[in-house]
Amino acid sequence: MTETVVAYLRDAVLQTIGITAASFVIAIVCGIPLGLVVAREDAAGRIVSAIVAVMRAIPELVLAIVAVVAVGLGPIAGIVALGAHYTAVLAKFTAELLHAVRREPAEALRATGATRTAAYLVGLLPAAWPGLVGFAAYAIESIARGAVIVGVVGAGGLGAGLIQALNLADYRTFGVLLAVLVALVVAVDALSDRLRRGASPRNVAFAFIAIAAVAVVSLATSDDPPWTHVHGIVAHVAGFIASSLPPDLSAHVLTLAWQGVLVSLAVAVAGTLIGIVLAIPFALAIAAPLARGWTRGTGWRPWSWLTEVPARFVLAVSRATPPVALGLIGLSIVGLGPKAGIFALAIHTAGVLGKLLAESLETAEPGPASALVATGSTASTAVAFALLPSALPSLAAHVLYRFEWNVRASTVLGMIGAGGLGQALYNAQQLLFYRQLATYVIVAVLLVLIIDAAASPLREGLRISRLATSADEI
């Protein structure tokens, strides 16, 4: 590796870490209070809730593309996009969490005359705490994934180098960048996993302060500190808004948008289905019902480290690689067009669903399975009739959420050349057709909102609280 590549890499990694940390701090500081407002369910709560729903519906990369146009190239655009998106995600989660947690202990404290704040902090927060910390940990993982890819559209960080290397057909640099990127995501995952496990309030507070410090230091020491750009941004934003209104609703543009929607949906459906099929053998290889002992005597050994370790590794890598990076690989394998998008979503979906499927099998109540085995049934019968039925509802919910997630991701993949709505969006931005850009953003938001609304009766039918799976949702 040449010195320039190393220097570039150092800067890009610092910037990516800075974007991650800064976006996370913004999301926590703004998202949780907004969630409290949404949870109040009064007029203000409903208004904030509607804004949050729309913000969540805009895919990160679409937000990033808009942010790049609005505030200019560089990490600030990435921070604005990710900060805004995850503020909305955290607000929604906080509101749902407060809904799910029992309020009676807090009300009991109110009955003794405690102040409202004291009653909520002592009576409600302890019950909500594990959920909140767990979700914040998931959020930082997702933000890290987002931060490495927002560069693809010019919002700073590793993604910019990735796309540049690909354009120059410099596959060695591409490979190095990809490896660094995956390592970064895996490192953040490990960190968040630790946070989730040993989450005493003191540790969490310490971690949060550390992340805030990292945000400042890494952005300040990078070549291109974002605050040097802040002046003039306001005028720029105003100019952008003026030039993108009203949205272009001509028949030509709407036809393009509709065609884009169909392609994006097709990519999402195909990617999800292939991902499920790929996930199953890996999940079975790493699920460890044997560890619980109930398969003893059935003659079935569902796993050994020979299959388990490689399977875990493959799933971890495919999960840790952002779909956009997978899409870039897909482009170089199958060429431009929807196939690259399907490739990316199938691999990523397999990674996520494989892990969730394995977890569902591992955490499913083993009692019924042992009972069947005790009556002499085979292990496979026990899996089919005792384990799967109890794991199925949560699995179905995971698949549903993955599909919704993939609809959003397929729009994003279009931006790197995998066809669909994203492609139209990216072209409009590159050609400075901001009124067209506005139309495509609105269509992308509507698409996600409609899919979300269509899935919600299904979710209710599955009797799965949105909370149970929303960690997976982001």
Binding site: E104, T112, G113, A114, T115, L121
Partner: protein, 232 residues
Amino acid sequence: MLAYEDVRHAYGERVVLDGCSFAVARAETVALLGPSGAGKTTLFRLAFGAFDPSAGRVLVDGTDLRGLHGAALRRVRSRIAVIFQAHELVEELSVAANVIAGTFGRRTTFDALRAVLRPNEVEQRLVRDALEHVGLADRAADRTFKLSGGQRQRVAVARAIAQRAELVLADEPAASLDPALAREIVDLLLADARERGAALVCTLHQPELTHGFDRVITIDAGRVASDKTNAA
């Protein structure tokens, strides 16, 4: 101490209290009997101003609770300890923290948090005394979710004791406990009330547990069906 004057209350169409009147004097112990759905729990919720009755008045020490809110309502509430049927303890916190929570009515938000996180000598003694009273002194540091149903009930009693309230309301404190344990809890409540000269109102299912109370009031269909001074 506590007076209901011709109280009526309905949840939508369903009338729960239909002209209920009685009063509890200072330091008096009263057992409220009646079938489930007779309106006993609603009477309790009215006593600490969870909501206003549809009609009639609820007076705590002469103060009408209707329309009371903010600091004024908090002041009244701090004088009433409530033991909820489902305990309503904060499961994730320690037993000691749950007991100290009984004193929140006299504390600002900041002071309440400090008392939970860094209790001073006086507060530690308060917790120790209350837990000794209910026989759980050795469990102060345990998380509450580790306790059995009977132990939780006793923590709820300890929280009420720590509140040093002038009126203790206990909603079915003996429900879901075996008979010996039920008697033990009721005796704890009676002993605490006697010791401090506090009034006690206790809803019960089983008539045999009313032994030891000054008065037994039976509620049926939302009104007082009988009101007897206990001979025993």
